[in-house]
């Protein structure tokens, strides 16, 4: 999982730096698909990171893919790369073909939101990321285990909506749609687990985004001069930025732990489930505290649309709630902890570092 070994990570970072600029991100919010950016992503094979080489993918490790997702978050990438990776991962799991065109995931909050009768799909799902811009919708429904359905978005009704960050978060209605392809997921994956993987994807993106917000904050504090010196010299600000750094460190540790747990068996197994619940729970405070400090240090300038800070903070505020908020996941984790009971609490905590 070392980033230095990962060519794919370096490539991703270079592309994002060059092509995910403030102008591109703003234009995307205005509805302009960043063609050049996606083309570079496609050419570099980034969307195929998680696809085995036999299926035409890059066959990088799951951890390399998570590193790309973290870099995407750090760059506030305005295209569904993380979603495409997860969609591709689901397709590969179900033994289906994956392409390089943009995809997104359709993971209904309630299993009952979608009805799949074995031939046709009906129902409405809201908050589908980038539905209007992708070529394929990768839908997960339950029924004899998890099923993956690939749907042509042209066959659906898409209502354009946005999340807090202005990202396209559309409502998609399926009126008895026949999927392009369909396959059963292996026993280790169903709708709940796919949603958990999506929650993890948001944690990893957020860990990256919060890291960038911290760097911008430090940089701004060193440049902005008031009372004759850089504001970085004021102890009050030093202390809030130090606390912010602690939050960045914590969410990176939590997200890495969860990503590694999922990578271990290439599935959201019982252990990964707990780690994801912990990371998504931990994310709220990191975002809440971190974004507050970032804005406080940036003063009024950081409150403007022109300044790029909001590319990060608005995404952070949106992502912490997606695929289960901290309230949702803390209850799940809390119930697991109750199931362990007092005497198994500590052994369960230490089991994470046991050799396997």
């Amino acid at each position: 999982m070392s980033e230095t070994d990962s060519i794919i990570f370096d490539t991703a970072q270079r592309i994002f730096e060059d092509l995910s600029t403030a102008e591109v991100i703003n234009a995307a919010e205005d509805g302009q698909w960043p063609d050049e950016l996606w083309q570079a992503i496609e050419e570099a094979g980034l969307a195929l990171t998680w696809i085995p080489e036999v299926n035409g993918g890059v066959g990088a490790s799951l951890m390399d893919g998570f590193a790309v997702i973290k870099a995407a978050g750090a760059a506030a990438l305005p295209v569904p790369l993380a979603e495409s990776l997860l969609a591709g991962w689901l397709l590969a799991k179900a033994g289906l073909e994956v392409g390089t065109d943009p995809m997104t995931i359709v993971l209904p909050e309630q299993a009952g939101d979608l009805v799949w009768n074995g031939e046709r799909l009906s129902g409405t799902v809201s908050a589908v990321p980038h539905a209007r811009s992708v070529r394929r919708l990768v839908v997960v429904v339950n029924g004899e285990g998890g099923q993956v359905l690939v749907v042509d978005p042209a066959q659906t009704r898409i209502e354009s909506k946005r999340n807090l960050a202005g990202e396209p978060w559309d409502t998609v209605t399926f009126d008895g749609v026949e999927p392009l392809e369909q396959a059963r997921l292996p026993a280790d994956t169903d709708l709940d687990r796919a949603r958990a993987a999506a929650a993890l994807m948001r944690c990893v993106q957020a860990a990256g985004a919060l890291g960038t917000a911290l760097e911008l904050t430090i940089q701004y504090a060193m440049e902005r001069v008031q009372f004759g010196r850089p504001i970085a010299k004021f102890q009050a600000l030093q202390h809030s930025v130090a606390a912010f750094a602690g939050e960045v460190a914590a969410i990176n540790a939590a997200a890495d732990a969860a990503a590694e747990a999922m990578a271990r068996n290439n599935a959201v197994d019982g252990e990964a489930w707990i780690e994801i619940a912990a990371a998504k729970t931990r994310l709220e405070e990191a975002v809440n505290e971190g974004a507050a400090v970032a804005h406080q240090v940036h003063g009024a300038m950081g409150f403007t649309y022109e300044h790029r800070l909001h590319h990060l903070t608005r995404r952070l505020w949106a992502w912490r709630d997606e695929y289960g908020s901290d309230v949702y996941w803390s209850r799940i984790l809390g119930q697991e902890v109750l199931n362990w009971g007092a005497d198994q609490l500590w052994p369960r905590i230490t089991a994470v570092s046991d050799p396997r």
Binding site: M1, F9, A67, H239, V248, A253, D256, A278, L345
Partner: protein, 386 residues
């Protein structure tokens, strides 16, 4: 994976550490069952039991990482981590040996005269010799370079005069590793003129007076030195190098599991009550607390792993201490918010006692070993803001 400036790698314990963990758990269960100890909140700073520490020493669990040639056990940092975290999680009375095992021993091995080292280290390893830290003074807290307790050169050694304050456990200790002024203060070179000494607390002229904390318990002390003679060979390292030594010593102790597990036992005991008819609020709080503990353990253990590899992640260690010590307060406050009223109101019983002790100890966790304000200043410096 980490496009981040902070690194907390996953640590996988070696097989031998797993075996060791099982042994420690068995030991703790037996001790607790046989009345060898009653669990305590903030146990590493409030539960002193020389008998217990001797048993730990007999098991080979003190001085674990120290070289065998000096009397240590030559084991890994990760094995030591296992022993310390297990004892903390159980609320075991580890205070007597804690400081000697964590920081004084390594300091002595590195900097003491060989014959002094050989006289002290094997006794620490046996759980038979305990150490205190003498840094703070009445007029010296965060600004450690301002110490004024003096050591003056005399024939064959040094004459010490002054007062050290807040010396944890000194009333039960054999030695104090003491930071003293050996040259007059120089405003231009504030970190010079300081030296570290090993002072035998049984020496004539040493007076130790216990200080009651807010709970009325005596865990720390005022230690007065009146013309105390310290032989030359009890100077640690070079005269005048005290500051560098102290800085290294403080870095060593920053990110250990005691920064977030000192009252873990309160959570464990609270669980026995909370499992009955849990509300959603209870689930949320337990989920939040366990999420944080898991994250902190990942961070703290990650640093132990980096130390094992020979790197010294100072920034990460400072971050862990800041985040972890703030969590200690949060944990007790959140537990309070979900425990039934009869537990909060009760004046006896294990859980009510642990909770009270924990709450009364909590203000110290963001003070001792350098306050969180000072720590944040160091983090800011590492971030380039100072």
């Amino acid at each position: 994976m980490s496009a981040s400036r902070f690194r907390f790698p996953h640590v996988e314990m070696p097989e031998v550490a797993v075996q060791l963990r099982a042994e420690v758990r068995e030991f703790l269960a037996e001790e607790r069952a046989s009345g060898g100890f009653v669990p305590m909140a903030d146990c590493w700073a409030s539960a002193m039991s020389p008998e217990y520490s001797r048993k730990v020493g007999q098991r080979g669990w003190l001085g674990m990482t120290w070289d065998k040639q000096y009397g240590g056990h030559g084991r890994s940092f990760l094995e030591r981590y296992v022993v310390t975290e297990e004892m903390l999680a159980a609320g075991a009375p580890v205070m007597a040996h804690w400081i000697a095992d964590r920081q004084s021993g390594p300091q002595i091995i590195k900097n003491a005269q060989p014959h002094v080292r050989d006289q002290i280290i094997p006794r620490i390893v046996a759980g038979d010799c305990f150490c205190a830290i003498g840094m703070s003074e009445p007029n010296t807290g965060s600004d450690l370079a301002s110490v004024s307790t003096k050591a003056e050169k005399v024939e064959g050694g040094w004459r010490v005069n002054g007062t050290k304050l807040w010396s944890t456990g000194a009333h039960g200790c054999d030695y104090m590793i003491t930071l003293l002024r050996t040259a007059p203060p120089d405003a231009k070179a504030r970190h010079e003129g300081l030296s570290q000494f090993i002072i035998d607390l049984k020496s004539p002229g040493v007076q130790i007076r216990g200080i009651a904390d807010i709970g009325g318990q005596v865990h720390f002390n005022e230690t007065q030195f009146e013309d105390v003679f310290v032989p030359d060979d009890y100077v640690l390292g070079e005269v005048g190098q005290g500051w560098q030594m102290v800085v290294g010593e403080l870095a060593l102790e920053r990110s250990g599991p005691e920064r977030f597990l000192s009252s873990f036992i309160v959570l464990q005991e609270a669980m026995r009550v909370l499992v009955t008819n849990p509300s959603d609020k209870t689930r949320e709080v337990l989920g939040q607390l366990v999420a944080k503990i898991k994250t902190l353990r990942r961070m703290s253990l990650g640093i132990a792993g980096l130390l094992e590899e020979g790197s010294s992640p100072e920034m990460e260690a400072a971050l862990v201490k800041d985040v972890a010590t703030r969590f200690e307060r949060e944990m007790l406050e959140k537990l309070r918010s979900i425990l039934p009223a009869h537990i909060l109101a009760a004046s006896n019983g294990l859980l009510p006692t642990l909770l009270r002790e924990g709450i009364l100890r909590v203000p110290s966790s963001t003070l001792r070993g350098g306050t969180n304000e000072v720590l944040k200043g160091m983090i800011a410096r590492q971030l380039g803001m100072r």
